[in-house]
């Protein structure tokens, strides 16, 4: 039955112009950065560069595209997550879900997976775009996998925080703005605290944990951080909706 909620979320995203517009805009931005990356690679590598300074095309183009993707998702996710619960609360349609034989955990997971599935389409497109270079050169699929995994975890973390904020209000726009501010703060936390790399606060920065993935490095510490981040905010959402039910 979770699958049914996922299906409904996806269908509602594609039933509105929002879903298509976001997909098209994201693809346009990533496509542009991909082309610029390929173009710059040939310009840079054809210059007088020592062999040891040269990097592969996958890393060169990949850091261009995945770098911008992590930033652009900061705007895209709040736009998509803001209406997940707050819109249903405003329209009073949450009652249909809550009176169905589904636990609140299933409802929250269904909505979360629906949004993450939609965003996964974007990530798959990015991966396909960069992998397409394999047609004329050798591509580092390990690097692509690491970046795709990192971006997916980052986007899933954004979505988990977005769904939690959406559960706090019945105004989707308010939810969108708060999500954006919270994500932006979490993303650049380490910039504020750049002087103290051992700071616990700096350790909470999402970008700090995405950065190893973007270098092609899979670290279980970073992986665990994202998973804990997701679980924390999904649990908070469940608790919030359960409290609503208790209070009526």
């Amino acid at each position: 039955m979770i699958f049914n909620i996922v299906r409904k979320e996806l269908k509602s995203l594609f039933s509105s112009p929002m879903g298509w517009v976001v997909l098209a805009l994201l693809q346009f931005v990533f496509g542009t950065f991909f082309l610029i990356g390929v173009d710059q690679y040939f310009q840079t590598m054809s210059g007088a560069m020592r062999p040891e300074q040269r990097i592969g095309i996958t890393a060169f183009v990949g850091q261009n595209v995945f770098g911008i993707a992590s930033f652009v998702m900061l705007f895209a996710v709040p736009l998509l997550s803001m209406r997940l619960i707050s819109e249903e609360r405003r329209q009073q349609t949450l009652t249909f879900l809550f009176s169905a034989p589904l636990s609140i955990t299933e409802v929250v997971l269904g909505k979360f997976l629906g949004l993450v599935s939609f965003l996964s389409i974007v990530i798959v497109f990015i991966a396909a775009m960069i992998s397409s270079m394999n047609l004329w050169t050798e591509v580092d699929f390990g690097y692509i996998f690491s970046n795709v995994l990192g971006l997916w975890l980052l986007v899933a973390s954004f979505s988990a925080l977005g769904i939690y904020v959406s559960s706090l209000t019945s105004q989707p726009v308010v939810a969108g703005i708060i999500t954006f501010i919270a994500l932006f703060a979490l993303l650049i936390l380490d910039h504020f605290l750049a002087g103290d790399p051992t700071s616990t606060m700096a350790y909470l920065s999402l970008m700090r944990h995405f950065e190893p993935f973007s270098r092609g490095l899979l670290d279980t510490k970073d992986f665990a951080y994202f998973i804990l981040f997701i679980i924390t905010f999904l649990t908070l959402t469940i608790r919030r909706l359960d409290a609503d039910r208790l209070r009526g």
């Binding site: 509602s12 039933s15 349609t93 809550f98 009176s99 169905a100 636990s103 208790l246 009526g248």
Partner: protein, 299 residues
């Protein structure tokens, strides 16, 4: 037989406000039951508790023997609620909405025949592919009823289903609901149209300030107040000796409550003795509205 609904000592508090104060109620399978009460009596709170939308402060509720808290999946499978408000998902058409709703209850494509049947029975066939936003108020109301029935629940709760609905649609809805009741569905109705409850329901509970103040068959409730109402339009004020029978007055129009039809003659004789002319007269059967007003107006 397991009761369709069993409510035991249910209380619901919102801070200092006691919305429900120890409700006990059993509704048997196959009943057509009315839940009446003024605004704020606690009817919607009780329905929300049955649907699992809110949790009781204390007490126990069961639907078809399944506790709404402990066995919530089975309890919700057994219940279909038509909400009072015209709420709908704006992204879907009627058929999609019904299929998604049935899907929440674990019903897949095998349920499509039933979905088609309720679409047909509720006169929604030509609107099946119309977006919910584009439906008129009456059509939205039909779609909401269809939504509550999408998973074939044995117990149906209708919270003010005919509010703001025209006479033709109201009659069509009642025919359909009566048919469901004949087929064995338990129907629980809240309405402000008391004549509907009187015509349709075999048993009635009246609520006031979070308590059930009357629970009986419709026939027994009707017996609880004087059997007839005598409406008189007089040329002058009602004689003081008849004032104890007065239920309602407006200008020189009076509604008197009589225990028996034999009281008519003594009443008219007292009016004649007071030299007051009777300009118009009507003998009316007491109805559920009289019972309701009588009970609700008691302190």
């Amino acid at each position: 037989m397991i009761p369709a609904i069993k409510i035991e000592q249910v209380q619901k508090h919102y801070g200092a406000l006691q919305a429900l104060r120890g409700i006990d109620l059993t509704i048997e399978q196959g009943e057509f039951f009315a839940l009446l009460g003024p605004n704020g009596a606690g009817k919607s709170t009780l329905i929300n508790l049955l649907a699992g939308l809110i949790k009781p402060t204390s007490g126990r509720l069961a639907v078809m023997g399944f506790d709404v808290q402990a066995d919530y999946r089975q309890a919700r499978h057994a219940l279909g609620v038509v909400p009072q408000e015209l709420v709908f998902d704006p992204f879907f058409n009627v058929r999609e909405m019904l299929r998604f709703q049935a899907g929440y209850f674990g019903r897949g494509p095998e349920n499509d025949d039933w979905v088609d049947e309720i679409i047909e029975c509720l006169g929604l066939a030509d609107k099946a592919h119309t977006n919910m936003r584009r439906l008129s108020g009456g059509m939205k109301r039909r779609a909401l009823i269809a939504q509550a029935l999408a998973h074939r629940p044995p117990v149906i709760v209708l919270d003010e289903p005919t509010a703001g609905v025209d006479v033709e649609l109201r009659q069509m809805l009642w025919e359909f609901i009566k048919r469901l009741n004949r087929e064995g569905h338990t129907v629980i109705l809240t309405t402000h149209y008391l004549e509907e409850a009187e015509t349709l329901c075999s048993r009635v509970a009246m609520m006031k300030q979070g308590q059930i103040i009357a629970l009986d068959t419709t026939a027994n409730l009707l017996k609880k107040i004087p059997g007839k109402n005598l409406r008189l339009k007089l040329s002058a004020a009602l004689p003081e000796s008849l004032r104890p029978l007065l239920r309602h007055e407006e200008a020189f129009e009076y509604m008197l409550a009589l225990t028996d039809v034999t009281q008519v003659e003594p009443v008219l004789s007292q009016i004649r003795q007071a030299s007051i002319a009777v300009e118009d007269m009507q003998l009316i059967e007491a109805d559920l509205e009289d019972v309701f007003v009588d009970l609700v107006s008691k302190p």
